[in-house]
């Protein structure tokens, strides 16, 4: 359909492309928004932090992405000694690769021919942010958090993953100080691939357990 007929379909409150306009944030600040501003300004005023340092930290957090985890997984697929170190202490193995993960206590859980792992945080939204960046929105929903522990197989089917009965599902609820990453099984048909090519197959969901890596 030609685009010059847009006005016929233009609904009130919608942009010309048919999306709702996002309201300006004219509502009063919440208690915690005021608290954040107050603490931040006090820290700056007292000389503990500079605005540039705060901005740099936000930028560093935003720069973390699932590509970091994918690099760790690809290394584990190609280097058996690294894989062993990763399964023993995933924090140290990630730091060894040069990722600044701060105080993150990371545990890697390995998918095999008869085990599939799934990560959830039923209490809130614990996620290995220091390695993978921010969690997807669905990870924080009550639906995912409650259903992943009660009916993980039904949840996985909705993600397109229908596991046979002989595969044991192990759900990991991040209830305290640890964070988890799934080490997915290396896909078949990847024998000749190098680390960078392998890392491109590793998806965010495959490291949460709601998906599998791409096949080449």
């Amino acid at each position: 359909m030609p685009h010059d007929h847009h006005d016929h379909f233009h609904h009130a409150g919608m942009s010309p492309s048919g999306h709702p306009y996002r309201a300006d944030n004219d509502t009063p600040l919440s208690y915690w928004q005021r608290m954040e501003i107050a603490v931040r300004e006090l820290m700056v005023e007292k000389g503990h932090l500079t605005p540039a340092e705060i901005a740099a930290q936000i930028e560093a957090m935003d720069a973390r992405s699932p590509a970091n985890g994918a690099a760790v997984v690809a290394r584990a697929w190609t280097d058996p000694a690294f894989r062993a170190r990763l399964l023993k202490n995933a924090s140290e193995a990630s730091r060894e690769m040069g990722f600044d993960i701060g105080p993150l206590n990371l545990i890697a859980v390995e998918n095999t021919a008869d085990t599939h792992n799934l990560i959830v945080c039923t209490l809130c939204s614990c996620y290995p942010r220091n390695l993978l960046g921010l969690p997807p929105d669905w990870y924080k929903t009550r639906a995912y958090r409650s259903r992943a522990v009660r009916e993980p197989r039904a949840v996985l089917r909705e993600f397109g993953l229908d596991l046979p009965d002989h595969v044991t599902v192990r759900v990991h609820d991040s209830t305290a100080d640890m964070r988890y990453i799934v080490l997915p099984a290396r896909p078949d048909g990847t024998d000749g691939m190098d680390e960078a090519q392998l890392a491109a197959l590793v998806t965010r969901d495959s490291m949460i357990g709601t998906g599998l890596p791409h096949r080449p």
Partner: protein, 92 residues
């Protein structure tokens, strides 16, 4: 040696990190994790004691009974030592 434990079926007021759906449920210690500051004090800005933390593995059948999708699937959660009691497997 497999160590069987049960999450205490307590319901104290305030911030706790032992999930409700696991209280009273029995599992096995998957691995000890070391000592960590007690969130029940940290949450209120108090000086926190450190508590041993364990990864406890539960069978889905133990948690959900007949409603479990697959009784032998498992759920691992981190539970602080003061929320666990030993299960005496030799009890009559």
């Amino acid at each position: 040696m497999v160590e069987r434990v049960r999450v205490k079926a307590l319901a104290p007021p305030g911030h706790v990190r032992a999930p409700w759906y696991l209280r009273g449920k029995a599992g096995v210690i998957e691995r000890p994790l070391g000592h960590f500051a007690n969130p029940e004090q940290l949450a209120y800005g108090l000086r926190a004691d450190t508590k041993p933390l364990y990864r406890v593995r539960f069978r889905m059948a133990e948690i959900w009974g007949e409603a479990a999708e697959n009784p032998d699937d498992t759920l691992d959660a981190e539970i602080y030592g003061h929320w666990l009691e030993k299960v005496d497997t030799h009890a009559p």
